[in-house]
């Protein structure tokens, strides 16, 4: 393996298995690009797989200066131990300054293993990443259960590592003219056999609820009161041609399925109009809706964070306002 690294590079693990649907690698490349302007390092994609040439080009077109590739039939499907092992070897060999990994399920398995074996820190689910005046990576993540954000450093250990949920950053536009270098590496001969054997794998795309793309989203929280009352949000959604989302306690209580979860652990939304009913506005929830153009929040508590983020903050009972809007809409769209 070539040893021509400056020790300043920012690596982004290429997670391409769900490409087109899951753009997290491209999103992180965009942020890595911005970070690299400050550190003076290169942005490097790292891709393991078989017949993955298409992705290297994509990564360069989306901000990578260089892409390391190991292309081999043995890497045809994701193998946790194999991919971890390869990433560790490359990192030991080339000393990247930073490794960023998308928090897909796979990324969430790879990242802690790599961090552990490289004896370095790892901040999960960063909502932002910056470079401080000493050139260090500032990992910004929710802390202490929801209402506070922490800025975290890895003072000594290298590489500095972080995971980022899909939807946190915005990808750069595809640039056909972007120039980048593809560095092809050989599969090490002494790669241990994968101890976890996959006997069956089937692509089962989740039924797209469309909440991530919807122009109008209605979210409900614990303030809706009960499962029965929460259902009213679906009536409203029918009238508005909207999708329904929910907070974590609501999902955990079984008022609605997990696919409706909005937040770090769930979906990222960017509607033109968001109606938020009975939601306090914890950072793990709001981190995923900052791209909403116009927010109407209903809460009994005028000081709830969600109310501070709203364009229109309605201080009232969530159920009554929901019913009121339903009634008004029925009149207004009757022809």
């Amino acid at each position: 393996m070539s040893k021509n690294s400056t020790g300043k590079d920012i690596w982004v693990l290429g997670d391409y298995r769900n490409y087109f649907k899951n753009r997290v690698t491209l999103q992180i490349l965009a942020r890595a690009r911005a970070l690299a302007e400050k550190t003076g390092g290169r942005v490097c994609g790292v891709v393991f797989g078989h017949d993955v040439g298409g992705y290297t080009g994509e990564y360069i077109a989306h901000g990578a200066d260089r892409v390391y590739v190991i292309d081999h039939p043995r890497l045809k499907s994701y193998g946790i131990e194999t991919f971890t092992n390869l990433l560790i070897r490359l990192a030991r060999d080339m000393n990247p300054d930073i490794i960023l990994i998308g928090a897909t399920r796979f990324g969430q398995e790879v990242a802690p293993r790599v961090a552990k074996q490289l004896d370095t820190g790892l901040t999960a689910d960063c909502i932002d990443l910056e470079i401080d005046d000493k050139g260090r990576l500032v990992q910004i993540a929710p802390s202490f259960g929801g209402n506070l954000i922490a800025r975290i450093l890895t003072p000594k250990a290298r590489p500095q590592m972080a995971t980022v949920r899909p939807g946190t950053f915005h990808e750069l536009p595809h640039d056909n003219t972007a120039k980048g270098e593809v560095v092809t590496l050989d599969l090490p001969e002494d790669l241990p056999a994968e101890r976890v054997r996959c006997t069956h794998s089937e692509y089962r795309p989740a039924k797209t609820l469309g909440i991530e793309k919807a122009d109008i989203v209605i979210t409900g929280g614990r303030g809706m009161g009960s499962k029965g009352k929460f259902k009213k949000l679906f009536d409203l959604a029918g009238l508005l041609n909207a999708e329904v989302g929910a907070t974590r306690p609501v999902v955990h209580a079984g008022w609605v399925g997990h696919e409706a979860l909005v937040g770090q652990a769930g979906k990222h939304i960017r509607p033109k109009v968001l109606f938020s009913f009975g939601i306090s506005g914890a950072i793990q929830h709001t981190a995923a809706l900052m791209d909403a153009d116009f927010i109407v929040a209903v809460n009994k508590n005028p000081d709830a964070t969600m109310m501070k983020l709203a364009d229109v903050a309605i201080v009232a009972d969530a159920n009554q306002v929901c019913s009121g809007i339903i009634r008004a809409l029925k009149e207004k769209i009757r022809d």
Binding site: N18, K21, I80, E81, R105, F106, Q108, E109, P112, K116, G121, L122, A124, D125, F144, L148, I149, A150, I152, L153, T154, P155, R195, V196, R197, C198, T199, S201, E202, R204, D215, I216, N241, H258, K272, V273, S280, T286, M290, F294, I295, V296, N299, K300, D303, A304, K308, L309, D311, V312, A313, I314, A316, S323, G324, A328, E331, K332, I333, R334
Partner: protein, 281 residues
């Protein structure tokens, strides 16, 4: 692994019960003073998975012992009593000031050290896929590295064969069946099972039983100057509350009044997002 015996360790975390807290119905603020510790929901499912294997083992004349293991402050012993009342054979609490503030790397180090020193014959380690208080999903995979066990994350079902463990999971839109030899480690995803509840008799019995072992830093032979807070590779620089605030327009009053105001002043924005005209009245 002794033939026909399998030792299972279930790693459990006690977490604060925040999102389950009631709020004050007048002010709408959370009653944080009621916050208590509870068994992390995913850990609870890991325990459930272990107990189901234990039961299946009985039917096949296989002896399966389930030990619940937690690291935490002394009060975390509660979740071990709960685990025993649900059917675990033993509980082990790793507790020491020096362990306080451990990040996931050190947590997995301490858990792994206990298992290697005191339970070297462990055949299977079960963890929750992620805990409700932080959701990093890191301890399971890092403990697997620590023990050098093969590991599978996010399991929605597990089945024991004579020599291997078969796991089903849905990750990143792939439904997978995976198999590994034991010893190994599996993390259990939320929603995998419906957890059992303990009868009152079980609870009383569990609190009376001497099945909980408490282990400190000395017994784990940690370095004399071991200090989880200092030894973490990351440092919290500072903590702040999210500042982004908009100039909100506040509407108050009876539901009918505020809804009318909403449509009078913002009906255009709503109707344009709907792609539909709304009648004035």
């Amino acid at each position: 692994m002794e033939n026909n015996t399998l030792d299972i360790i279930v790693c459990i975390k006690q977490v604060p019960m925040v999102s389950e807290l009631p709020w004050n119905s007048k002010t709408g603020t959370l009653k944080r003073e009621l916050a208590q510790g509870m068994m992390d929901p995913a850990s609870r499912l890991a325990l459930e998975a272990g107990l189901r294997l234990q039961r299946a083992g009985q039917l096949e004349d296989r002896r399966i012992r389930v030990t619940a293991l937690t690291m935490g402050p002394p009060m975390a012993e509660e979740v071990l009593h709960q685990a025993v009342s649900l059917g675990a054979d033993h509980g082990v609490l790793l507790t020491d000031r020096k362990m306080a503030g451990a990040d996931t790397n050190l947590t997995s180090f301490i858990l792994g050290r206990y298992i290697r020193m005191f339970k070297p014959d462990t055949g299977l380690v079960l963890c929750g896929a992620q805990t409700s208080d932080s959701e990093t999903a890191q301890v399971g995979p890092q403990l697997a590295c620590e023990l050098d066990f093969p590991a599978i994350g996010w399991a929605s079902d597990i089945r024991l064969t004579q020599r291997t463990l078969v796991v089903t999971r849905l990750v990143d839109d792939f439904m997978e069946t995976l198999e590994m030899d034991l010893p190994g480690l599996v993390t259990i995803e939320l929603g995998a099972f419906v957890p059992r509840y303990a009868g009152l008799a079980g609870v009383a019995q569990a609190f009376a039983s001497p099945k909980i072992d408490v282990v400190d830093a000395d017994r784990l032979e940690l370095d004399r100057d071991f200090n989880a807070l200092k030894d973490s590779p990351t440092r919290i620089l500072d903590v702040f509350s999210p500042a982004t605030q908009k100039e909100s327009r506040v509407l108050k009053g009876a539901a009918k009044t505020v809804v009318d105001k909403l449509f009078t002043d913002y009906g255009k924005i709503i109707s344009s997002a709907m792609g539909k005209d709304l009648k004035k009245k």
